[in-house]
């Protein structure tokens, strides 16, 4: 059964819910779920509408034309996706493997509605893992001299493969601004701390030094400001004086896995709308 998901955001005003639901109703779309949010402080409106295409009485192109007109009237940012056109995802990894395994297994179990099209790595180590799951693995070794050229080659590969989403699964290489700006709101990173606590390198060591009683992980969109992008998902786990740095790393893996998967899944289900530095996850 084919479904579509429409996501919109715009300055709030009267009649937005009525306008969109009427448009869909008038053309035979049955709304399956909708979530709507008004940020009163900023007077912004956000809505996600998931609807059945079975009895749609116009073509998808015609529907998109109508949406373009209607959404234009309200200065809406909007996008539409179709369940029969799954998003194509590239995973970036280095040598740390738990998040990589986790995404591959969740995909295999049907938890992530997407195609995992390819893997990019700065190291050959995890090629055998990718192979087991039948996913092409491309190594781009990065150093100070070749970084720009290699990133260009990566971007070309991503474009050739029609990649919609990049997931940095503990990818241990800072991406350049140029690269990041090519994929706005389309790169998800997992940071191994409860941001904004412990930005930068070695957050578990920092957490140990500070003696915190919980550690966490944060899935966020990558932006030019390192560790500052809009947050998709976060969670924490209890720790204590009994935990060494190694224990924190081990416990942290469980949170990282769950938080990254939650963020990626929310993105793939079109639940995420970005407004400034914040996300609305409907």
């Amino acid at each position: 059964m084919s479904e579509a998901t429409l996501s919109v955001s715009c300055p709030d005003r009267k009649g937005l819910v009525a306008a969109l639901s009427k448009l869909l109703y008038d053309h035979g779309a049955n709304i399956l779920q909708s979530q709507q949010h008004v940020d009163r402080a900023e007077s912004m409106f956000f809505e996600r509408i998931q609807f059945d295409l079975a009895e749609l009485d116009i073509s998808r192109d015609q529907l998109e034309d109508l949406l373009r007109i209607e959404c234009g009237r309200y200065e809406m940012r909007w996008r539409i996706t179709y369940s029969d056109q799954p998003r194509r995802v590239a995973i970036f990894v280095s040598k740390i493997e738990h998040c990589f395994w986790d995404l591959l297994i969740r995909h295999r179990l049907g938890e992530l509605p997407c195609e995992i099209a390819l893997v990019i790595s700065n190291h050959p180590k995890l090629e055998p893992v990718a192979k087991q799951f039948g996913v092409p693995y491309h190594v781009f070794t990065i150093n100070a001299e070749n970084k720009r050229a290699q990133e260009d080659a990566e971007a070309a590969l991503l474009e050739q493969n029609g990649i919609d989403l990049i997931v940095l699964a503990r990818y241990m290489q800072i991406l350049s601004d140029t690269f990041i700006q090519r994929f706005p709101e389309r790169i998800i990173n997992i940071h191994h701390s409860f941001l904004p606590a412990f930005v930068g390198a070695r957050p578990y060591h920092q957490a140990y030094q500070r003696g915190v009683k919980n550690i966490g992980a944060t899935a966020h969109y990558a932006t030019s400001q390192l560790d500052e992008g809009p947050i998709l998902a976060q969670d924490v786990v209890a720790c204590s004086h009994r935990d060494t740095v190694d224990d924190l790393v081990r416990k942290g893996r469980d949170v990282e896995r769950v938080v990254l998967a939650r963020g990626v899944r929310a993105h793939l289900e079109d639940r995420v709308l970005v407004h400034g530095r914040r996300t609305v996850v409907l």
Copy 2:
């Protein structure tokens, strides 16, 4: 600023969101928030719409007449409440005091949008607490002989005082079916276990005996089936072999407080729709 909240549930069909949002829009109501849910398994539709009354171009009575007609067309169960007509709440207590204090303090801090109209107890112990907060405290001692008569007297008092909601804040007296059926979906109880684990008496003792690693609490609507009513809120807290029964009781108090308050608040904000044994908390 006056607001209204409309809550509806009915068998799902096309056009429900459009119909309600159009009706409101046509009469000047500005939708502030709406939440909608479709239970696909049971093909049921649920919606909560919170809207501004400032520019409503008809009277509340006229609006309700229109809703009666429109909701009738779709076999909707519906209700509407107004923020300027706060619900009137009665708290039932016995000798255990932590939930009672908690509700009184949350109300004082503005967390519970209601009036705490009166307290009913089967024991005089907590009268001084009620007094401190200026809430009338009525003692109805219950025994096997007088139970029916006392419950009738309680019901009469509740009706005289226009009570909308009864909160059993660790009230240690089983209410008769007759009493409960007078207030359907209007009595909230807190059970000191993670239902359906440990139904019945002394759940912390049961939890200790079973050696569980978490204990919990459950806020639910009271029904004729003890501990079986629709669940509003639940939560748990970790425990271990180090916890004696007394420790479980102490830790449990924290969960009970939070869970009961969460359930009462959801009810008062008209977020709760009951369908069969389950709730939809929008």
Copy 3:
């Protein structure tokens, strides 16, 4: 660096901590960590002592002889394990794979101090997964007629391979009492509910029907009483009316993985002492 872990339990009396620490100290053992618990209600004493063997001035056999004498004086149940003699583990699986992957990957990442010696299954489906990790996979198809014979064959295989611990990683086949009694406190099962809620089959369906607001998982030792064995670990995750049974199954997988791994790890680190129906996890 070789270490040993001594675990003891006995009726409480004065001088137990002193007696054991003196014995170890007198023979050159350096205590690295110790945890001790007194259950005052049952007047029972539990202790776990992890110590360095580097400067032990007697042989391991001699140490065990001394412990036998000393522990005998206090009616202690005791056991000792050595870090250079890792436990040998057998995993039992059927067709549900997430817990199986999880144990294999955690082992690969060094989280589980053991050898995964073999896999037993009632179905060939997951053989390729075992193969990837280089673990022998044995299929024993079970039906009403052959159950006793097949279980005997399984037990023989386990004994030949010197298996110390059996982990039922969502093994969908009830083990006979005879089989279970061969491995007391040496079979860990993961039940996909927050026991004692939803014992028996299809707990996520039961949870959905009851409308609970959290679902959970329980790792416990298998005993003759199904779902009644001593609990090693439990945890829960929030859910809501938005979750279908399929969503509960998906969310449940994350809890099951973490809870099973926590239980297995606690067992392998010799943190678990059983007393009646309850565990002390030091």
Copy 4:
């Protein structure tokens, strides 16, 4: 029944557990509970021993003399407290009341083993609350000119009253270094964020701006470095785009209450040993 709690920390070496347990055993003390921790990274030893005084065959003074000698041999920091000499606590408050109520009610319910001797505030607002619980309330209005003098007066009052512990229950007035240094590891503060995230003022506003998906609270010892003292307890609660700053403040109150109480209770039960910037909570 009188009990004592001995807490020690020192550089790790062989025989520490044996030495202390033997000393106590030799004089008739029955160890009820003990917790011990070795920080291998820093080679530090920590122990807490709770023991029964009923059959102690020497006086408390003699016991303390023996401990002074024995602990001296190992360069131990040590302290001993007695259950029949409850600690005397002063609560500092301003106008925010939820933590204040919470401590008073928990004390009333027997959760905090101490005497609440007095309240100090920079504002008269909460005097009626203190009065209800029979606790003296002292107002010291603070401004730039009188701060030093007022703090001196406060310190004098605290000393006259034999105060062992100061709890800053959302006290909205920065204490001077001089004041803080008078009470090392004897002032507990609650910070309304998950430190080190959102240090400084208005953490809920900061959290809202950053769009985090959890908010938290931190109980820590006050030190000269604001928000940098050793952490006693922390916890978080989930939040989302649906939460306004006011909602975060409301949700935060629940975490603050629980976290502050957990920290205070751990301190009063002598579970906390400080080492550098970190705590060991046994």
